[in-house]
Amino acid sequence: MNLPGNLFKSALLAFAIFWFIIISEDGIDSDTLLLMFLSCIPIFLMVTIVIIGSICPVFWLASKEHTNKQDIFKTYFPYYAIIASSACVFGIYASNNELIAFFSSAFITTCQSWVWFAKEKNE
C-alpha cells in the first residue's frame, strides 16, 4: 500500500475542499491566507488519523481473504460510505451547520482515498 502518497494526495484534497467551501461563504483576504497556511498541519494530521484509523485496517484485515484490492473496495466501501455519511450528516446537524466545510471535506476525502487505495496495483 502506498500510504504516504495516499496521505499526501488526501490531505491536499481535504485542504482544497475545506477552504473552497469556507471561501465561498466568507470570501478571502490576507488574514485568511495566513490561516490557510497554518491549517495545513492540522488538516494533514486529521487526514492521517482518519485514514490510518478507519480505511487502512479494512485493507490490512481483508487482504487475508481477498487478493484483489478492487474486491476489497467493492465489498467493504459501501458500508464504510453509508456509516461515514451518516456520521457526517449527524455532525453537520449537531453543529447547527457550523461544521459543513469540515464534514463535507472529510466525507469526500475518505471516499476518494478508498478509490486511490483500490486503484493501486496488487502486490
Binding site: 467551501i21 465561498s24 460510505a81 453509508i82 478509490v115
Partner: protein, 468 residues
Amino acid sequence: MKHISILIASFLFSLLFFDKSIGLNLSIFSIITIVFLGFYNLKAFKNLRIRFYTLAYIITAIFVFVQHSGLSIIANCIAFFTLVGAISEQNTSIYINWLNGMFTTIAAFFYKYISGNSSEEKVDWKKNIDILHLAKLIGIPLVFIIVFVLLYKNGNPVFNDLINTISFDFINFQWVLFTILGYYLFSNISKPVQIEPITSQDKQITDKLYKSEHFSEVQLKKEKQLGTTLLGLLNLLILLYIATDVTYLMTTNATTGTELSSQVHNGINTLIASILIAIVIILYFFRGNLNFYSENKILKNLTYVWIILNVSLIGLIAIKNQNYIALYGLTYKRIGVYVYILLTCVGLITTFLKVLNIKNMVYLFRINTQIAFILLIVFSTINWDHTITKYNLNTAQNFDISYLINLSNRNAVLLYEQKDNIIASHEHKKRIDTKYWSYVEDVVQNEWQEYSYETFVISKKHPNSETK
C-alpha cells in the same frame, strides 16, 4: 445527452432547495426524480413492485406538501431510497433496497469509478482530454496567482485599489457548490448500483424452510416434549395473568393520572418482555426439522394458543391506554403506546404465519420490514399535532393546555379558532395568539418553494398579508 439532462436536473435542484426550507420544493423534487429515473431506467418501471414504490413515493411527496411534518419528510426520504434501491435490483428484500438506495445516493460516483460501469465513457474522455493535466494546468496557476495577488495587495496601494475594483459578487459560489451537489446526486441515481455480495445473496435466499439431511427422530421427539411442556405451562401462566388483569380492570376504578400512568407503563414493560420471549421461544422450536415432524400438532396448537393469548394481552394494554387517554387526553407518548401495540400485534401475526406456512427467519425480517415501511407511510399522512389538539379540546375530560401550545405550529390555526371555547388562563390565551400570529408571519414570508397546503389556507384567511 446524459450530461445535459443531469445538468438541467441539478439546476432545478438548486432552484428548489438553495437557501430554502422544506415545502413544495420536496414534492416537486420527487416528481423530477421519478421522471429522471424513468428516463434512464424505463424498463425497470414495467415491474409491478417498482410501480408500487413509485406510487408510495408520490403519496409521501403529496403529504409533504399537505402535512408539512417531520414524519412526512422522513417517509419521503425513505420512499426515495426504497425506489432507487429497487431500481438497482427489483427482486430483493426491502432492507436491501434501502441499503442499495442509500449507497447509490451517497457514493455511487466513487463505486462506478472502480467497478467500471462508466468505463466506456472514460475511455472516450481520456482519448480526447487529459483531465489530470487540465486540472493541473488550471488549478496550480490559479492558486499561485491568488496567493501572490493577496501578497502584493499589501505592498502597493495603487495595485490594492486596482484589485479592489475587481468584483466577483455577481457569482454566488455557494450556489455553484449547491448545484455541484445536485449534479453529484442526479449523476449517482441515474444508474443505481448494487452492493455485492449482499444483494445476490439476498436474491438467492427464499422464504421457505427446508428439511435438513440430518434428521434424528429421537432428538426431535425430545425437543417436541420440551416444547410442549414449556408452552403448555406458559399458556397456563399467561391465562392466569390475563384473568387477574381482567379482574383488576373490572374491580379497580383508577382515576388519578399517576395510577393510570403506572398501569399503562407496567403493562407495556410486561408486554415488551412477554412478547419478545414468546417470539424467541417460538422461533427456537420452529427453527428447523420440528416443522416437518409428523407428531408436532400439539406443539403447533399450543403455539397458536400462546400467540392468541399474547394478542389478548395486547388488547388489555390497549384498554388501559384508552382509559388513560379518555381521562387525560392524547399525547405523543400515548400515541406511541398504540403504535407499539400495533407493531407487536403485527409481529405476532407474522410469527403465526411463519409457523403455519413453514417459513424461515428471513421471511419474518422481510415481511415485518415491508409492513413497517407501509405503516410509516400511513402514519406520515396524519397531522398528529392537529389530531392531538382536536381530540383533547373536544373529547378528553382533562388536558394540559401548555402541552398543546408547545406542540409544533401545525395546530396553531385550530388552537386560535377554538381559544374562546376553552377554559384557559389569560396568559395561555395570549400565548395562543402569539403562536398563531408568529406562524402567520412565517407563512406569508415563505417563498413559493417553501409553500405548503396551510400557506394557502392562511393566505385565504388573511388576504391582506403580503406573500412573496
